[in-house]
Subunit: 399 residues, 2 copies
């Protein structure tokens, strides 16, 4: 199939593009490099050095003999979106091209507005371009499990049958997102569902859990194929952050009691899930939702799992003041059978997975900026400013 | 109380501002006059001539002896929002300042994007300004009953208790909005609910039905206090449109079977509801939702009610091709007790109400532009262009 990957220079977009190419799809990649700009803004960097997109694509072609077409531009530019779709003629579009950090969206008003406008307008432009150019294109959109929040009932995959005062309907699952970023994904989901209804588009909304890991079959083939690894308080995801903290002997920053429970998955499963969605497309006119995670963990459990690898040497800082506004102890049970039904064989979290992350960190430990490790953005403040330490402002401190 | 009315130059904003002033509140008004610009874009005009805001305010002061402060600017300009709040120091803000036409939002991509960015960013700026300047300000936000769509269960006021697999929670009522405009209101509702949760703001979301009528106790005091009356296919609401069509002998344009059922209310009840929300504020940290309508009607019933006033003379064009994508026959039952509990005494739809609307139309019938009467925007088209007829382009045709 011809698959266009949007946001293909990012943490998950790049390895997904390689994976799809490796698996025999014709792949096009789109990016505007804004993720690299966030690094300049925050004074942070990927722990693992990453090559320019052009070099990545060239190295992939040399190693695999497979071509990837690149399109450099911004989804909020509707003309660019239209030109790209007309040129590449995709069967499916995998849409990672959104600002994806909850803390980044909570820095201040302008970051909240940026996040919602960027994400919502990019997706609206895409919906219009698909409707106008080729409504048979299957839109595979990355959403987040965070759209649901933590209700006191089981979370279903996108829709729930409700019986109320003697009548029954299947309705969109109620959403209680926890940041302006998560809200932007809820807005997207509603817009996409509507476009499927009125224009007969077809789309799969992948409500993804928190991803961990950095290495995949394809990125491991050459250092210039590596994807980014974020450990900072703004873009780093929790397990990757804990592994980094453990390596440098920083206490593991468990916000509050650590009872917050979330669905999680291995980066290799992200790739497999996206391919399953692409190769088993939604019906024309269908808007379907898959919950894309493999296991649920509390933050406390994750910290324990990492600390076990450093017996007696790593402190767990339970009770780190929680910068987020969220329940720290709550019910959490979420369905995630649809991707399993399509054939997903999960990589469950194991000691060897953690060892592989730790090894990535060890190999790059001289690149760790201690100033980037602390939680950086407080949900309660409306104008935190860009969360960089003084150290980060004048250059990275090496540990 | 000190009440700031946003969008106070519009159909409902203006009479609400007058009503609150008349009832003893200190009123400030905010507008950017974009509603008047839509008229230039579409080649349409209010059926009733309307004075400039400055003149309206001056006439009100002459007649009532009551002062209204004016602030001219745009809510998407965050600095303007902050300055206005700091200057006026409101106890409550009534927020009508959004692009409010479903057909306008469905004209094409750029109108969809404009509607969502304008509405979402304006409201985000307001939330940040309230949080930073005075979190005790009560935000009374106009939403719409259209956020709910037409589920096959009873619609509750904002939240619903769901029992699922043996557990129970009270969750936001699932939304199925029917246009990019309605979607923008759903986005707003989610953003506001979140701001109440993380910053302890307080807000009332008024999910309003379709409003009819034009005359209020205050606007009737002088021709220059009149509010606008829209009958065109883009901004006109259904009963006001049917009355206009009946006066000029145009068949009443019932889209499809006309079984579409909607909550509706008299313009005078809008004013009363807003005042009830303002004078009975939400608790600090509370996000509450009132369904603001008084009766439900099918579109067919409304057409019948108007046609009855012209026995044998007005045709009902049931089966007019429906430009919208919506169910034409469906279950509809929506709670609306919260405002009644606060003391609302509704003006139910009566022959005298219809007579009063017909009389407004009769007095201005030489201003009716026949070209503006037809449905103008089709939901199924992604690029309808600005929906003006050739007639409208070269000037209004007088009937």
């Amino acid at each position: 199939m011809r698959v266009l990957v949007l946001g293909a220079d990012g943490y998950l977009g790049w390895p997904t593009a390689l994976h799809l190419s490796h698996r025999g799809h014709e792949v096009g990649v789109v990016d505007n490099f804004v993720r690299r700009q966030y690094d300049y803004e925050l004074g942070t960097s990927s722990l693992v050095p990453i090559a320019h997109l052009q070099r990545r694509v060239r190295v992939w072609e040399e190693i695999s003999g497979l071509n990837i077409d690149s399109f450099i531009g911004d989804l909020t530019d509707a003309a660019f979106v239209g030109e790209t779709l007309r040129t590449f003629k995709p069967d499916a579009i995998v849409h990672f091209a959104e600002q994806r950090s909850a803390p980044y969206s909570m820095i201040d008003r302008s970051h909240a507005v940026y996040t919602q406008v960027n994400n919502v307008v990019g997706t609206l432009n895409l919906l219009y371009a698909i409707a106008e150019i080729d409504p048979s294109i299957h839109l595979v959109k990355l959403g987040t499990m965070g759209e649901y929040g933590t209700p006191n009932i089981d979370i279903e995959e996108g829709f729930i049958e409700i019986t109320h005062r003697g009548r029954t309907d299947v309705l969109p699952f109620p959403k209680q997102p926890g940041s302006f970023y998560h809200l932007s994904k809820v807005h997207d989901s509603h817009n996409i569902m509507f476009a499927c209804r009125i224009w007969g588009l077809r789309s799969t909304d992948l409500n993804q859990g928190i991803v961990y890991g950095q290495e995949t079959d394809e990125t491991d083939l050459h250092p210039d194929l590596a994807t980014r690894f974020d450990y900072d308080g703004v873009f780093g995801t929790v397990l990757n952050r804990f592994c980094t903290q453990a390596v440098v002997g920083h206490p593991l920053t468990v916000y509050g009691s650590g009872g917050q429970t979330r669905g999680m998955l291995d980066i290799r499963d992200t790739l497999a899930c996206v391919e399953l969605a692409v190769t088993n497309p939604a019906e024309q006119g269908e808007f379907r939702v898959f919950n894309q995670f493999t296991e649920s963990f509390s933050i406390r459990e994750l910290a324990d799992r990492v600390a076990e690898e450093f017996p007696g040497k790593v402190e767990i800082a339970t009770g780190t003041p929680n910068p987020r506004v969220e329940k720290e102890e709550h019910y959490y049970r979420a369905a995630h059978t649809k991707l399993l039904d399509l054939g997903l064989v999960p990589h469950l979290l194991s000691r060897s997975t953690i060892a592989s992350i730790l090894s990535v960190v060890e190999r790059n430990r001289d690149r760790i900026d201690m100033a980037a490790i602390a939680p950086a953005v407080n949900w309660r403040n409306t104008s935190a400013g860009t969360p960089v330490s003084d150290d980060a402002r004048v250059g990275s401190r090496r540990s």
